[in-house]
Symmetry: C3
Subunit: 140 residues, 3 copies
């Protein structure tokens, strides 16, 4: 049994955002799989995904603090600057995190650990809405 849906995440501010519920609600058919896997795929190159701590907003703020230092806006060694100082860092940050998340499914649910949530990593100042494709399959 195959499930494939497009989900559009509403525009978010630059930073790291918890979006587990939005994704799960976008694929109610997951509930019919007793065992399987789900692929959450970001169709962009300046925003990305990752799985991380789902409880404290501090963690998501500290993600931004680290990534903004590691890949600084407007660094002198970047040549691809036409789309703004935040564009090339966005591409690098996307490569350092994930474009695809592959998550096991068990008993109709994503088999996440207790503290795991799905982050939207928005690396642009004005990224706009972001398109995901969720593909899942398994046994009923």
């Amino acid at each position: 049994m195959w499930i494939q849906s497009q989900i559009t995440l509403r525009p978010r501010a630059r930073g790291f955002h918890l979006v587990t519920d939005e994704i799960v609600e976008g694929v109610p058919e997951l509930g019919s799989l007793s065992v399987g896997i789900a692929l959450v795929f970001m169709q962009h190159t300046s925003a990305s995904l990752t799985l991380n701590e789902n409880a404290s907003p501090d963690v998501r703020r500290d993600f931004a603090a680290w990534f903004d230092r590691a890949v600084p806006d407007g660094a002198g060694y970047f040549t691809h600057t036409l789309e703004g100082d935040d564009d090339m860092p966005a591409h690098i940050k996307a490569a350092l995190t994930d474009t695809s998340l592959v998550i096991p499914v068990r008993d109709g649910r994503l088999a996440l650990g207790t503290w795991q949530g799905i982050y939207l990593c928005e690396h642009r100042d004005n990224g706009g809405a972001r398109r995901l494709i969720v593909t899942a399959f398994g046994d009923e």
Copy 2:
């Protein structure tokens, strides 16, 4: 044909550890798949996985050297410090490496390259046992 097992890795010291054999031995049913894929999924946010060089312990030591410099314990810009100076860096390091590994299966074995092994990346000083879910499927 679907396989889904939980594997608990015994507590390891902070650092990078080769765990290919433990994982393969935990899923003997892989031997019955002629073609397929295997998903190895870490249910934690302060430890992670990666595939890398399986021969030299120096490589794993140098991984720790680089990651500890790139994401320093107790950096002044971290605000999520309640769980210790190694906690927030652990979350970032987990995001830079992998929570999921997806590996092709061929003739009953993981189709790894000659020099590839699975690393447990333990980012906490006292991370304890770590829980993985291995999900595989394919044709017999």
Copy 3:
């Protein structure tokens, strides 16, 4: 329906290279899948893959600029130096990017976003040919 093929990428210079077409042409059977997923897997530990911007060569040059600064050749804290100053950085850079890409398939094509392409990330000065395993499955 399962597809599994080995693709050998010809030797490339150190840097980031767009290889989407080579991969798609190596797996013509993808065209028969109406829905599914494709796993592109690198069987090496000093070269890797990532999905990123497919238009501007500047972006790929800037990737090299950032990664070469973040993980410097011959850094004093590396001990695994027998295979050259570019070897240990290659392993780290591979861990920071992807060994596996998992991409949704829809209507016989990889469901990539408009600006997404597959990069070969060649981290060695003389890496030679690189071996990939592409595994895909889905419904016809």
